[in-house]
């Protein structure tokens, strides 16, 4: 499927989902609205309907007025499957990071996330810098924010006995 058509379909689908499913379900109308004030769902519904119209227009243009090919994305030449795998790996790292905060604490979780991200970028040289970045930088940042702003970073259930 050409990219402009796919784009139009995604836009229409997203705004239709919002207008016809999410707004009725997640925007409650109060029993009493003073005077002539518009209800809370007026604005999100209006924006969603406008979004559907814009998406439909994008779809129409994509079908009726074929445009010049968009320049290809700059990559390292990997296959789409491989890049999808990398994306899935990154999403997993983000989710694990959020899950790990209550267990390992903010400091250890950010250390692990940083190390993971650096390795996922393909960086294998600069080993001392990688170590400093992954382990030294979070400690420095935590010390700075803690002492300068008084931010209390969450400690982990498993790491609390060690003080972080």
């Amino acid at each position: 499927m050409p990219k402009p058509v796919l784009r139009g379909l995604i836009i229409v689908a997203f705004f239709a989902l919002t207008a016809f499913v999410l707004v009725p379900a997640f925007v409650p109308r109060p029993a009493f609205i003073p005077g002539f004030a518009p209800p809370p769902d007026m604005w999100p519904r209006t924006v969603s309907l406008a979004g559907i119209a814009l998406g439909a227009l994008a779809l129409l243009f994509a079908v009726t007025r074929p445009q010049a090919d968009e320049p290809p994305l700059e990559t390292d030449g990997s296959s789409p499957a491989r890049m999808t795998g990398r994306f899935a790996g990154l999403m997993l790292a983000f989710v694990l990071f959020l899950v790990a905060i209550p267990l390992l604490g903010f400091l250890v979780s950010t250390m692990l996330l940083t190390l993971c991200i650096v390795l996922m970028t393909g960086e294998r040289g600069h080993r001392i810098w990688i170590a400093l970045l992954a382990f030294g930088a979070p400690i420095l940042l935590q010390l700075f924010f803690n002492s300068a702003l008084g931010t209390q970073f969450p400690k982990g259930v498993l790491t609390k006995p060690f003080g972080f």
């Binding site: 705004f15 925007v27 979004g51 990071f97 991200i117 970028t121 970045l133 924010f145 209390q152």
Partner: protein, 496 residues
């Protein structure tokens, strides 16, 4: 009057006041340059220190922090495509491409010169036009506000990316996201989790949308490594380049001064508006977004141009124009000064000291900016594979420290993924962001206007000011569509 001004000048020109202003500007530039740390945070954190200071130095410190952070946002926007503040988002559009071309120093210098010029002009406008502009701003009611913001949004949608349609889609997405949380009558909209009842903060959305897609691109696509940015020493802005951008700088300064004087508009909207106007009117308009110095000049002159002007409604009417001037209002109160028309009668000496101090701080901004630039420029020599994870780390710590909320960190990461999705679909991010910032004000003013008019939509076109903005919206749409048709025809001709 001259005696008053001279005595105020003598009172300002003490070593203590100068050191306070230098410290404020330096601190502001550094805070503004760190992604996730905002000018609001800097001003708020400095507020307790002002308890122990005299009235004028304390306000000068806060003003210096405000100005410094507004300029500082451009440093990270140019070097690492991460606007330190929302008002520097437009600067990233041209600054980062220039940095990639090895012209980071040129971009930083242009940002500094434009910021200083905009700031100086803004301070002059504060001195000369405080009262008349404040009176004009008072006449703007909900319908006029709505039309003004709609105009700003249309302009941004028209100038971002290669298609007006995608710009409008992006703006609609931003407006929709801005509705999350409690509305003006207490209903919780799209509150899928208890954390979402308070709405989404600007900082995680902004940083996530602009900084994280770069990281995701680096991990997923691993595009060929770019050459390192050139050293700053050989990257001065030439006289011809400055003169070429002077029109946009002056125009941006005026736009910033006028929009900054209207409560609620602030530096971000001024920067977007000025950028759009510069792109529309410049002969280099087609290069905007690809590394055009004039784009940086337009954006930076306007956002710093709004800084001084936001003090106009604060000083003349006692109405804060944005969050930062709201904090400053608190500082005035703490010092026993009540901003408003009476301030000009009862505390004229302090008012003159403040105005002169603001002019002096414009000059100090230049030197502090030059010094800080060299320090931050070293960032451009760090490999992307190390710098980008460091940016993520700064973002995570900065965002968490704002509200000690893991939810905000989650929003940051999710917005990064959203930004990456928008990049893949060629949907520009700038209209999304400005719509997200303006969204609550846009909706509030629409609902107020409809409530006042008993549900009559014609109220939105009920005064000459609304007619002007409606005409400008139509004009912008016409110009943008015409430009796109011409571009499409040219492309087809070239293809044939």
């Amino acid at each position: 009057m001259l005696n008053e001004i001279l005595s105020a000048l003598v009172a300002v020109a003490t070593l203590q006041n100068l050191l306070i202003m230098v410290a404020g500007i330096w601190g502001g530039v550094i805070v503004g340059a760190i992604p996730g740390m905002t000018g609001t945070m800097a001003v708020t954190l400095a507020l307790p220190f002002t308890f122990y200071m005299d009235p004028v130095p304390s306000i000068l410190l806060l003003v210096a922090l405000y100005k410094g952070s507004t300029y500082g946002g451009s440093v990270s926007a140019i070097l690492i495509k991460t606007p330190g503040t929302a008002s520097a988002a437009c600067t990233a559009l041209d600054g980062y491409p220039l940095a990639q071309q090895g012209k980071a120093g040129k971009a930083l210098n242009m940002a500094l010169y434009s910021s200083v010029t905009g700031d100086f002009i803004s301070n002059l406008s504060l001195i000369f036009f405080a009262a008349p502009l404040a009176v004009l701003a008072l006449r703007i009611g909900p319908p006029e506000f709505f039309m003004l913001m709609l105009f700003a949004l249309t302009t941004v949608a028209g100038v971002s990316g290669s298609s007006l349609l995608m710009g409008l889609v992006s703006a609609a997405l931003g407006l929709l996201l801005a509705t999350v949380g409690e509305d003006m009558y207490g209903s919780f909209r799209f509150a899928f989790t208890p954390d979402m009842q308070a709405g989404l903060s600007i900082a995680p959305v902004l940083i996530g949308l602009f900084a994280l897609p770069e990281l995701i691109k680096l991990v997923v696509m691993r595009a060929a490594k770019k050459e390192e940015a050139a050293t700053l020493g050989a990257q001065h802005v030439t006289r011809a380049e400055f003169m070429g951008s002077l029109k946009s700088i002056l125009k941006g300064s005026v736009i910033g001064s006028v929009l900054g004087a209207i409560p609620g508009i602030g530096p971000s909207s001024a920067a977007f508006f000025s950028y759009g106007e510069a792109q529309r009117s410049s002969k280099n308009g087609a290069n905007f977004g690809k590394g055009e110095l004039e784009g940086i000049a337009a954006s930076e002159s306007a956002n710093n141009g709004a800084c001084g002007a936001t003090m106009i409604p604060l000083l003349a009417l006692g109405v804060p124009g944005d969050v930062i001037t709201g904090v400053m209002l608190g500082a005035f109160m703490i010092q026993g000064l009540t901003p408003g028309p009476l301030l000009f009668q009862t505390n004229i000496h302090e008012v003159y000291m403040l105005l002169i101090g603001m002019l002096v701080s414009s000059v100090l901004l230049f030197f502090a900016g030059k010094a800080t630039m060299r320090m931050f420029a070293k960032v451009s020599h760090i490999p992307q594979t190390l710098l980008t994870p460091l940016v993520l780390l700064l973002c995570i710590f900065g965002i968490y420290s704002i509200a000690s909320s893991p939810f905000d960190v989650a929003v940051l990461l999710v917005m990064g993924v959203v930004g990456f999705g928008m990049f893949l679909l060629n949907i520009p991010a700038a209209p999304f962001l400005i719509a997200f910032i303006l969204g609550p004000m846009l909706e509030e003013n629409l609902r107020r206007a409809l409530a006042i008019s008993r549900g009559e939509p014609a109220v939105l076109l009920s005064s000459p000011i609304t007619w002007v903005f409606a005409a400008l919206i139509v004009f912008v749409l016409f110009i943008t569509v015409r430009r796109e048709i011409l571009k499409s025809k040219t492309e087809r001709r070239v293809a044939q």
